[in-house]
Assembly symmetry: C2
Homo-oligomer: 255 residues x 2
């Protein structure tokens, strides 16, 4: 991932080459890998402005991803170069909104993403007030919809009626981050593994992900699914104590 020139100083742009080991049997990038590129770009964008997690940790704070919605016209394929842009859309007291745009090298839009983040104090686990933290400096990074459009539909609430347990997913060393929490990307990988190959061939159009509570290395996660409509499936990931860790809506491409 290389940072490239951007015509807006508040927007970072990165060039990403889709690697051979990062694509599925259809030669399309794994959705988890694509989300990884986005979160990585988010981290670099923050870091470039003094708001990265290393800097924040000096003040005993960190970013926590609360929601992520991604929607793609198509999945980039092996060998393709894609341009990933990211910026802060707005900040409120408890949450900041960050957008992502994905383009091909000709400038055609491939997809967009929208994410919601809280900042917490790592000692108290309490949320920070983003309007006053560092004197509200975060607000100056906001980019208006007119300046940089992010045409992706809002996150829609998920209503689980009778989700069925379809897999018990153990978690190991490779699933966790420095806090031994299951990392945001690994959930996406395990959830994508619930789809059939036929569904993957049709392709994922959109993911809406709500990160509810942390789970830990060694947790055997209950994976429950429920068909929401012809082309959307709801997934709930529950911890051994029954708490919901993550909820996801997977929307497939029109067949």
């Amino acid at each position: 991932m290389n940072r490239i020139e951007s015509n807006n100083p508040k927007v970072d742009r990165y060039e990403v080459l889709v690697e051979p080991f990062h694509v599925d049997f259809n030669q399309r990038i794994f959705v988890g890998t694509l989300c990884n590129h986005m979160l990585n770009a988010a981290g670099l964008h923050s870091e470039n402005r003094g708001w990265g997690i290393t800097e924040l940790m000096k003040e005993r704070h960190t970013w926590v991803l609360s929601r992520l919605s991604v929607e793609f016209e198509r999945m980039p394929v092996t060998g393709e170069t894609i341009i990933l842009s990211t910026w802060v859309q707005s900040s409120m007291r408890l949450f900041t909104h960050r957008c992502f745009a994905l383009h091909d090298t000709q400038g055609n839009a491939i997809g967009y993403a929208h994410s919601v983040w809280a900042m917490i104090n790592v000692d108290t686990r309490k949320p920070a007030d983003l309007l006053t933290f560092r004197d509200g400096e975060l607000l100056k990074y906001a980019v208006s919809e007119e300046e940089e459009p992010c045409p992706i539909a809002d996150f829609q609430r998920m209503r689980f009626r009778e989700p069925q347990l379809v897999r018990q997913q153990p978690t190991y060393y490779s699933d966790v981050d420095i806090n031994r929490h299951i990392n945001s990307i690994k959930y996406i990988e395990h959830i994508a593994n619930l789809l059939t190959n036929e569904q993957h061939t049709r392709g994922i159009r959109r993911l809406d992900i709500a990160y509810k509570t942390e789970s830990y290395q060694g947790d055997v996660l209950d994976m429950l699914t429920e068909q929401e409509s012809d082309n959307s499936t709801l997934v709930e990931v529950r911890k051994p104590n029954g708490e919901v860790a993550v909820q996801v809506r997977i929307t497939l491409q029109n067949s």
Copy 2:
């Protein structure tokens, strides 16, 4: 991964930034991710010379990784930039030997790797004769040990006496490549998951991997281990039919 200048036209050099989601709870890069970077560099090095798998496929051939040995003084950590070099060391009739060197940005060696590859005809699955394929052109890429040293000890044969079954590892969509074979990197990830957190904190010094036969999406793999010495463990991965897919020796850093 960016290609950077190399003082030897037969050697490619790449700059790699260690990303936040690619490190373990010790902030060290996952060994599978590091091996992925190496195989990716190998693919680019081949492609840059007209020997990549896309080019070879036009002649109905492809590369198959047979053995990989990697040895590291230490594991690169999050945020660190590393320099990865790769070149062809020699080619014989059935196998070509490829080396990798890993340096920090000050030029200090972090580790080396050695790999053995066969080329097969994708229709007959028979090995090609590398000394005559394309009139032996592959030989001209060989770099002598004097030009470019690759100081890593030879792959040592593994002798399994009474390996014990320690895990049955299901395989899914995210484990497979375009041929729905379990990909070389995913084996490494599953194998690293067999170590305890204490062993990961001590750190992996070396991996020797022999890829024996392909396994497929959906195979539940038997993971067997055997303690070879104080700091080395042997792992055998067997397919449901009992065939050996992969054998690995994991050597830990001295404690």
